[in-house]
Symmetry: C2
Subunit: 204 residues, 2 copies
DNA sequence: ATTTTGTTTAACAAAAATGTTAAACACTAT
DNA sequence: ATAGTGTTTAACATTTTTGTTAAACAAAAT
């Protein structure tokens, strides 16, 4: 039998390259030729391994969704206390964002074009669990009382927006790469302080 | 001479339709045929009025940028007190978002593909002015002390993210249109409370 | 060695999208 | 009425992108 390494190598290389272009560089409309060039392979290999451009896109999209969800799940269902979970989530998001800054925005554009969702069950379980924890914290007074969904929206907004909108922000505010990275680095404490009413303020 | 109405009517109709498709429905890859169909005109009229697809895109993009900036400028340079400006900005953003929910995300994807910026001077003046006001508020203790840019990022994130990410959010959280609109309606107070350390809490 | 199996390539075909032209059309001013 | 002007249309041409096929190729098994 043929060595399994080689074919999986190219197949994987193509997938990796597509991800890099989509999520890493924001080139959502990359043609098969562009992907092939970036990967240094013949264009028709995309058809050989993935049948069609659409199939490749589907796979990459599904992968991205799954990864996002697993990432979140492993934090939500961990044994960490609430506040630590949020910190973990922030750290994790920023790490992810370094490699794939355009991931979330890509997911959104895909959803706009009428994409289905993957593991709906898992998502629901996770949300329920997190909801409950949020409610407990509100009872304790650690966070302001509001609809739990609003707390989640606040949290995700504060974390994800500056990542997704980096090109717009950085240009608008005329910031260098270094300046922007500094800002992102500083954000963890700021987000924590904003979400947790500044009790036990971390940075002062 | 020919009636000026008619030609401006179609030209404008095409622009309006393109905007509706891009910003209103998130169809960033609409073909000239799709735009023409949606506008109910012959496809080649796009070439007649705009020369090429790219030119049309450029114009729509420039328009969007300009509108956003003017909108923001008129608030920043108004005579309102700081807090009222923010409220105004929130209201304004939500109105805009009703018609063009995908506007900001479109701007970002365009920037990703290497787009230039329009009125850089104006933007700079505006930012400077707002920075100063933010600093004053921090001195007064109305808002937490942090780099002014971080306050701005917080503000814009809390406002724009739930709009831009609506399809993702709504799907993920399994919400109906009515439920989501309710959430957006509730957000104004939540955002104000989050930004202003909950003094004089609006909603309790 | 040669058959088998899977991979890669280039040439070709097909499809999709854009752009151009010239003729038809509508309206108005003369 | 018709000459003039700008608009709209359909037919055509071009370009871009995708998909297919058959042959070349490489490695391993017989």
């Amino acid at each position: 039998m043929y060595i399994k390494n080689k074919d999986e190598a190219t197949e994987d290389l193509i997938k990796k390259t597509a991800k890099k272009l989509f999520f890493g560089e924001g080139k959502f409309n990359a043609t098969t030729q562009e992907i092939a060039d970036a990967a240094g392979v013949n264009r028709t290999l995309i058809n050989y391994y993935f049948r069609s451009r659409d199939k490749l896109f589907e796979i990459v999209f599904a992968d991205a969704q799954e990864k996002e969800q697993q990432r979140t799940e492993s934090i939500v269902f961990s044994e960490l206390p609430f506040k630590a979970k949020i910190e973990e989530f922030i750290d994790d998001s920023f790490v992810m964002a370094k490699e794939y800054p355009y991931m979330e925005i890509y997911l959104v554009t895909q959803f706009n074009q009428g994409c289905y969702f993957k593991d709906e069950e898992g998502m629901e379980r996770m949300l329920k669990k997190f909801y409950e924890e949020v409610l407990v914290e509100m009872e304790k007074g650690t966070i302001d009382k509001m609809a739990p969904i609003q707390f989640i929206i606040n949290m995700v907004s504060l974390i994800s927006f500056p990542i997704s909108m980096r090109p717009l922000f950085q240009r608008t505010m005329r910031l260098t790469d270094e300046e922007y990275e500094k800002i992102v680095d500083d954000r963890k404490d700021i987000i924590m302080n904003t979400l947790f009413r500044n009790q036990n303020k971390i940075n002062q």
